[in-house]
């Protein structure tokens, strides 16, 4: 695609990571900045709650990307059983659309924030589709 700047890589991220609450902001890396620096686009997952229709809409979008040469990852929070990714509901929606669930990376809150930021950046920088898939789609 001539003159098109897209990065072909997308991260699913929980609302709590995109919009950390004031009390937790200092315990998390600035994930949006790290994603920007690595050229990723964002698909925001909704905050805790039912969101049945919205999750289906998000699964449709992930399927469209996954079927057309885009690399999709998911960034969650290590610790609570609900890490913001709605995984138990999202995975069946993805499988029904013929999509293998994205690779997940977990941020460890309250650890060394700089270190967590570097760990996330390294994960994002390393992740992409195999070269053959990239050549097939990214022309």
């Amino acid at each position: 695609m001539s003159g098109d700047a897209r990065g072909w890589r997308i991260a699913l991220i929980p609302d709590t990571v995109l919009n950390p609450q004031q009390q937790s902001a200092g315990s998390l890396p600035d994930v949006l900045c790290v994603l920007e620096a690595n050229g990723y686009g964002v698909l925001q997952l909704p905050s805790a709650g039912a969101h049945r229709l919205l999750l289906a809409v998000i699964a449709d979008q992930v399927a469209e990307y996954a079927h057309h040469g885009y690399a999709v990852v998911a960034i969650g929070l290590r610790g609570p059983s609900e890490n913001g990714l709605h995984w138990r509901r999202l995975v069946p929606l993805l499988r029904r659309r013929g999509v293998v669930p994205p690779v997940r990376h977990f941020i460890r809150p309250h650890r060394d924030v700089e270190g967590e930021s570097r760990r996330l950046s390294a994960f994002l920088a390393d992740y992409d589709l195999p070269q053959e898939e990239q050549r097939r789609w990214r022309v």
Partner: protein, 199 residues
């Protein structure tokens, strides 16, 4: 449980956080549209990404189109379904007294707020740049349907503006200045549950 402080929430067009959603040859950034996100975060806005109606309808390999081409009953039905999916979130923000604003994509046939794209005679094989579209005042179809859904729920019109990504040539500095002026004009309005919609 005590009601916490009202927050500032920005509903933002899907592609302002993810340029991979743009039509072929339409992405100006790798992923996040940094100036928009910076302007919002610097002013304390929470971000709420809207779904991309075109991506889910016509796919990620779609070509560009104008308002008239998307103005079909099937596409409007699709936009209404998306609006019904996201409206409960928006309603939740408004009911708790948060200030909610909308940042769309001016010039877009779907997500335009102040301007959309028009060419009633477009059709068949695209021939860009010869077939240039016209920018006209008005909402895109997705924004029309989203606003209609919010109105059906008895919610007030949202103050709104657009980032001029689909207006032809992008003047990033001017767009940013315009966005910041819009945001700064709203300083101190958290909890107002709406306000005047942008023209």
């Amino acid at each position: 449980m005590p009601q916490s402080e009202p927050r500032k929430v920005a509903l933002i067009a899907n592609c302002l956080l993810n340029q991979n959603a743009k039509v072929c040859e339409g992405a100006h950034y790798r992923g996040v549209v940094t100036p928009v996100v910076e302007a919002l975060r610097n002013r304390g806005y929470l971000l709420q990404q809207l779904p991309c109606p075109e991506l889910a309808f016509a796919g990620v390999r779609r070509r560009w189109a104008v308002y008239e081409q998307y103005d079909t009953p099937a596409y409007r039905d699709h936009c209404r379904r998306l609006a019904q999916a996201v409206a409960p979130l928006i309603e939740g923000y408004l009911r708790r007294g948060d200030e909610v604003i909308l940042i769309g994509l001016d010039g877009s046939p779907s997500t335009g707020v102040r301007f959309t794209s028009s060419r009633p005679d477009w059709g068949g094989r695209p021939n860009r740049p010869e077939d240039d579209w016209e920018v006209v005042r008005g909402r895109g179809i997705w924004i029309e349907e989203l606003e209609a859904e919010l109105a059906r729920r008895g919610l007030p019109p949202l103050p709104a503006t657009g980032w001029a990504l689909d207006m032809g040539r992008l003047d990033e500095a001017a767009s940013r200045a315009e966005l910041e002026e819009f945001l700064d004009s709203r300083t101190g309005t958290a909890g107002s549950r709406g306000g005047e919609p942008a023209s």
